[in-house]
Amino acid sequence: MSDELVNAMADLQRSKVYEIVRNEIEKDTDPLKIIEGLSQGLKKVGEYFDKKEYFLAELITGGDIFETIYQEIKPILEKKNVNAQIKGKIILGTVQGDVHDIGKNIVKTILTVSGFHVEDLGVDVPPERFIEALKQTEAKILALSALLTIAIDSVEEIIKLLQKEDLRDKVKIIVGGSAFSEELVKNLDVDAFGIDPMDALKKCQQFLE
């Protein structure tokens, strides 16, 4: 895919990205190649974020540009019976007692545009629903979000339920949100703490290795 698309994506030039993609669609370019170009651009966005040249605002913008285009390309992919490669399945939600979803939604976008299939259960999700979703989808990653420290009780409930259902060692748990800290998660039976969306992505990718 052309450097022009990669660089426009990396520079967050939304209108230019849309224009290039529409031209490529008209030329009947393989949609997977377009997604690959966008992914390379988004990867650069992630690198700029790690180097503190880009911040959360730029990360969200990049994710939004990608997702907007992905929704346009999806019908073409389905028509051509082409599936973008799914890296892994993730069950995601804000735990019971908490309705905050900003951070969760940012992470969802970053994970989705990076190739994960994310089933978002929403907010205030009871522990049983997470377990049910894991069983139905056979997802290997459970991503839990919470802003309120009081919601950590729900995280502990979920872990107990996973243990009871003999699922705990079949699933990797990552937590994120302002309720958590590096110190606090040491006392929780979870596998990772995502400090920010890119960190969450890296840790989910590491789970698959």
């Binding site: 967050l12 911040f55 605002a57 939004d64 900003i102 009081i150």
Partner: protein, 377 residues
Amino acid sequence: MPLKMHENETMTPRERVEACLSIKEPDRVPITPSFHCAQARLTGMTVEEFFFDIPKAYEATKKVWDMFGGFDLYSGGSPIFGYYAPIPNSHSMMYFDWTLPKGNIPEQMHEKEIMKRDDYDLVIKKGFKPFIKRPEVQKDFVKCLLETSKLDTREWLKEMDVMPLAEAFIEPPVDMISFLRSFNKFLMDVVEIPDKVVTACEATEKELLRTLVPQFKGAKREGAMQMCLFGFSRIATNHISPKKFDLFWPHIKRISEYIIKNGFIVQYHIDNDYTDVLEYFTEFPKGKIMFHLDMTDIFKAKEILGDRACLMGNVPPQITGRGTPHDVEKYCKKQIEGCMEGGGYMLGSSCVLPDEIPAENLKAMKDCVMKYGFYKK
């Protein structure tokens, strides 16, 4: 009878806090945790009961003060006011959708895109009035005011010589816009149409400053602390770059100068992390600003602003709500020892105490001040 919490004290709580605000060493570090609804669980009520029953909430607050022997600044009673406030701010149900407390689940905002990107010109022309959804909350606000006026809070505080946390409150246009747009949309606006966002902030500055006029008038009474809470959370540098923060600084600075010009100290209640932009605040003279910190590095703040601004904070909810008393002591001790030199430091919570704080953790916080917070004279 002024409140005395330890035999070695030589000042009243007011004198202690005033010394800190003037960047002087008091007799000891003030202990100033901010309460939201923690009093509820500490006294066996639900958060819901506490929130909706103003007299009961006040009694619970007094009970907590008895349980712990008091604190150096007062923040207490039901927070219900903020949600009925008929002024543009993120907590006001006049503009935003909030679910109020149920049982022990606290109030939470259902943040969504109320203002579209195309609405910036509307905001520039007409301010925030077009976004009023529930004008009827003004009646609830008046009801709360009347109930609160029957309480003896002022007399009680006067007797103890304790001041309330603040007498006036304002949020800047940029935060109001961020909540109307919703977080993600706002951040994309900051990246893609920053000039428009700045213009909207400048256009709505006067509308927000006008809300201070009656508040300042009410605060100009004998014994009232001239402190104005200036709260913002969305332009933190864990969200936007320092370069982007620079775009919003002029209107933040102008609002701050207005507050100072009217004889008030600016109490920056700045949730999230502002460590990388602390230098901006060195523009203000000594003793005219103070900080209630959340995730900002308080040690860095001491280094950069310690000579001119009082710092309050910032024990996080993960420690006070979920840690052990030992964790609390360890955290507070490190902060006290790192920040107390030269005065201008108060031990407080990151934003507010978590509602579920165990009594022993609150006690540990206060005990830590009594153990390590006295100045050697």
